[in-house]
Symmetry: C2
Subunit: 642 residues, 2 copies
Amino acid sequence: MRRSLFLQSPAQSSSPAAPSPEALSRLLYPAHRDLRARAFELLREPVFRLRYNETVAMERSRTTARIARVRQAGLLRDTVSRANEAGSRRYDVLIDVLALLDHSLEIRFGVNLGLFCATIRRLGSEEQYTHWLPRIEDGRDVGCFALTELGHGSNVRGIQTTARYLPDVQQFEIHTPHDLAQKFWIGAAAETANVAVVFAQLTVDAVHHGIHIFIVPLRNKHDMSLCDGITIADCGPKAGLNGVDNGRIWFDRVRVPRENMLSSMSSVSPDGRYSSSFTSPDARFGAQLAALTGGRVGIAFNAIEIALLGLTIAIRYSAKRRAFAPKKGAEEVPLLFYTSQQRLLMVPLATAFVYAFCARDLREMYYKSITTGSIGKDVHSLSAGYKAMFSWFMQDTLQKAREACGGQGYRSENRIAPIKADRDVMLTFEGANGVMLQQVAKVLLAELGAAAKNGGTYAKDSVVEALNTPPPPFPSGSCNSSKKLDQTFIYAALWKREDKLVKQLGERYGRMVRHWNGSAFQAWNDCLSVAEAAATAHMHRRMYDAHLVHVKHASVADAASGEALRLCGRVWAANTIASDESFLRLGCISAAQATDVVEQIDDLCKKMTSISEALLKGVGFPDHLLAPIAVDFVAHNARAKL
Amino acid sequence: MRRSLFLQSPAQSSSPAAPSPEALSRLLYPAHRDLRARAFELLREPVFRLRYNETVAMERSRTTARIARVRQAGLLRDTVSRANEAGSRRYDVLIDVLALLDHSLEIRFGVNLGLFCATIRRLGSEEQYTHWLPRIEDGRDVGCFALTELGHGSNVRGIQTTARYLPDVQQFEIHTPHDLAQKFWIGAAAETANVAVVFAQLTVDAVHHGIHIFIVPLRNKHDMSLCDGITIADCGPKAGLNGVDNGRIWFDRVRVPRENMLSSMSSVSPDGRYSSSFTSPDARFGAQLAALTGGRVGIAFNAIEIALLGLTIAIRYSAKRRAFAPKKGAEEVPLLFYTSQQRLLMVPLATAFVYAFCARDLREMYYKSITTGSIGKDVHSLSAGYKAMFSWFMQDTLQKAREACGGQGYRSENRIAPIKADRDVMLTFEGANGVMLQQVAKVLLAELGAAAKNGGTYAKDSVVEALNTPPPPFPSGSCNSSKKLDQTFIYAALWKREDKLVKQLGERYGRMVRHWNGSAFQAWNDCLSVAEAAATAHMHRRMYDAHLVHVKHASVADAASGEALRLCGRVWAANTIASDESFLRLGCISAAQATDVVEQIDDLCKKMTSISEALLKGVGFPDHLLAPIAVDFVAHNARAKL
Ligand SMILES: Cc1cc2nc3c(=O)[nH]c(=O)nc-3n(C[C@H](O)[C@H](O)[C@H](O)COP(=O)(O)OP(=O)(O)OC[C@H]3O[C@@H](n4cnc5c(N)ncnc54)[C@H](O)[C@@H]3O)c2cc1C
Ligand SMILES: Cc1cc2nc3c(=O)[nH]c(=O)nc-3n(C[C@H](O)[C@H](O)[C@H](O)COP(=O)(O)OP(=O)(O)OC[C@H]3O[C@@H](n4cnc5c(N)ncnc54)[C@H](O)[C@@H]3O)c2cc1C
């Protein structure tokens, strides 16, 4: 990149110094750097070469070959079989790298070593998990996670597969009563898994006990033929992720031994007495979906890595690809000269840096929950909120990156477009994004309800505790703070919007409950718009809180990294404020302040552009995971190469 | 759809009567309804069955088979060979239907009967087009359009392929001087075309005359072997549109006869005298790209049809698919019950109805230009603006439709996701969307400059003439008009935003030109953000103008259709206002008015929901072009069907 080209703005103050890529890299990827490097090296091998133009069958068998190679290289050893935090950390570092190459590879591991194992680890007895985890890790068995049905996805509590206890034979009978109850979308079920954790409605002695989980063999391992009573069909071609064999399963009165119910928290005695350590079905159901929380944490994390991958490709190309000259005969300028291209790519780059550290915080919180064994409200709402917002951000960024590269962005070999297709499912699985934001909003509503009983003060450990303390008012008549886009201004704007929207949500909900004569279901439905807005505003304020901590932390490691991160926060904040009319409508900022913000974005993006090369080096994705246009698009397309 | 479910809002006033699908259909598709019906019927044949899971080679040969069948069915007869408006109309009606099935099919016709023929028709002599058009129509030859090069896409004026006149032999020598000058992306060049219109820099007797167009044979027809001096490579797999064989072409001093230069407006005499009826190279270049304008008009039109296709699938599914029950044991509600789902799908549905009629206006204007032979400023700026805004709208809508269907939206057979991948290129080809909006903004800047010389008044035939007349002020202190979201309020809000942004653009540009010591190139680069905003605001106001005319027109045909269309306009306007902070920041509306607008959207979307079935029936896409989830997702996925 030729710096001089990006630094010719009139209004511009000085650009920050470029951060040290090495320091940035250590901030972003602090642990297991050796394993990370080994994984990147492995991906140079021919079996991992990027390929396109394949049928579903070809993609599946290629993914299977890749899984075998990862296993053979020993990289999976001591990951999930450890059943502890250290193992999870190794596993995550490995998957983070594989995810950059191939979403299908990530998900084939994800349903097997992720969802299947995490479910058994969290909800099975010690005997159950010490039996299964090593067998899955070394590939003796392949597990899948069978929750969703044709009729029930977002509303998984409504699944209709049944499990009846038969005391005479001490077995459970798993059954699919009708077509809507067929398991649907089960990753690895169509061809590759031999065993599943199956979610089903348990009945013992004609009493219904709600959803419980059963280990059910699907295939006979010696020849992978289907077990008795199992029918499996293929979900067929998808928009992407075709290396994953998603399947549909019907159970025809399939019997499994009593020991196959996951029993750390609920169990059925041989003679048919049901017992559970949970006091409410709600609590039990929440615990049963714990593995999904892990999945959401992973999606939140990887969404940002993938956004950075797309941005690396697009920014490197934009620095080299030229279009239009300042005058006749002069050399054409690189795309990154254009303020529109800077905005298109630098706002997402800054945002990715703000979010990346939020995602890392969430992961740390989640690791703690592995040790303590329970997932707090905080992790629950953050994982739901980040999962939704980061995956939407990822798709939006990939789309921008694709368009920024013009026609080249549409070629498969340049990766951005096929990655987008592969990743689109992240907005849906492990919880549809819209439904996730509703969950965040429901937490807010509950906090509001609790506060109402407490003189309007939020509880100390509440996710909105910060709303108890209004930000300091600005010196009257002065817009300095917005002119400089300083921290107090940004925080106050985000805080006020959150505060107002949370209150609006509470007010509207109360009004609607009265209107609907107490029907919470109807009332909530008339709050969805403000609920989504409140959840988003809440998440933004929390991200900014986290960001400020990370700026401090980074500054200690490397002053320039701290400054760079601070710049990212300002770009993100400016864009956030300029993208939502509610800051103005709700009176959180004045029109003059909004003007200050909007008018700074170009300049901020220029500054970002000047350090973008260093930021991308800090991220450090190796060339073999990038694309021809990120390296040398002319040489790659030369006639001599035909 | 069960109406009762969508009509239970507190604040709600009465819903409009459902329009007559028949009347709506006649408004949307007034002409050649017989041909349209025949084309839909043809698509029932096996060769047109929707397929997924194919390699590039399979997709290409399937597309070729489909082309043959359309030709054989006689549907192409008397279209482009007529070289007149009547022929174009028939052609468009046919392609509009084929486009619903298969983007590749549309584009294979598009480069051949569209771009190739339109270029020869507009720029060739009568002899040239009477020779070529019938041969292309009946398939004796297949043409392609070779403009873009590896090094030059948006800046096509910079292409570097050369054409030198050799008076001794009365030939032109077409040459690719280096790899950046290879023709790139040429649709049909990789395998299927035997002839191209090639854009190249003409030199006659060492004098450079700028870009001219040459008919260049690529392949020998008897065996499709490459002609001497031609090298062709494949652009390879793409994110979609893989039925089109995009190719790269190098010319190695290829000779064509003097008669092969398109010569209606410029020619070279046998002895090498250059003459042209154009006074400036700018005017000539504009005329040369005329075929692209036709392409943009087509993209604008089809973007809306495709958005409606995605919406038809998602809305029909959402009316049937159920999730969550109001209370335990009660029946679950359809997705369309949720206000969030209504908003997700009804805002785009309303928008599509507003835009559909704008696109029809543009097409009519374009037909006129076929008769008059020249494309006015108005068609130029509208086609650029609509191309960009409608194709972005289409992708945004398909994404929403995909997400609205949850996991089912990710299955290929449900069409939305693969259509999205196929269509994404529409944001790039025939002019990258961002560059298109810049073209609109440049027209605005020019109008502003002309007005400055005219006491601040815009010219009578100017695209911003409406800005000469401010809308009437609201009665002071009253928000009634925003509460009712009436036409005066909407128009005033749109008008003010456009007026302010256009002025801001002019002001900023002036300031930047001074700052950059007169460099228009640098100055314009520092205006891109406000330029895009001004262009968007201008387009929105013009769309609304057009919409009001169409409401009147529709009301005459069918009162309920008029009412329905009026509702669509209000939903579109409310969403437009609520999506852009600049209405508030620039003082076009007050915070109280903004609140009125935002608070009405739910209610408006409920009303839309209640008439959505009738609206979709009016659009009338037949089931065989929809998807299993649009028909009966349970029966389709039954075990009995395995
Ligand atoms: C490729 C793929 C792989 C998968 N792998 C697995 C797997 O291995 N195991 C497994 O068990 N499952 C798996 N799933 C299923 C996945 O978890 C579900 O698709 C997801 O939970 C959404 O459910 P659904 O598809 O039924 O969508 P629906 O529940 O039908 O939702 C569709 C839309 O309606 C909206 N909606 C639903 N409820 C509400 C509401 N209350 N309020 C407002 N809007 C609402 C949603 O926002 C969504 O956009 C997979 C799915 C896919 C696509
Ligand atoms: C599938 C496909 C089929 C095609 N078919 C044909 C065909 O048959 N014949 C043919 O001749 N061509 C064809 N094209 C080429 C197409 O017209 C070009 O891709 C398009 O014009 C964009 O050019 P580009 O790809 O070089 O993008 P670039 O010019 O490199 O632009 C890339 C990005 O930079 C931005 N940018 C560029 N200039 C500026 C600026 N001045 N200010 C701000 N931003 C800027 C753009 O907005 C764009 O997003 C096809 C392309 C594709 C992908």
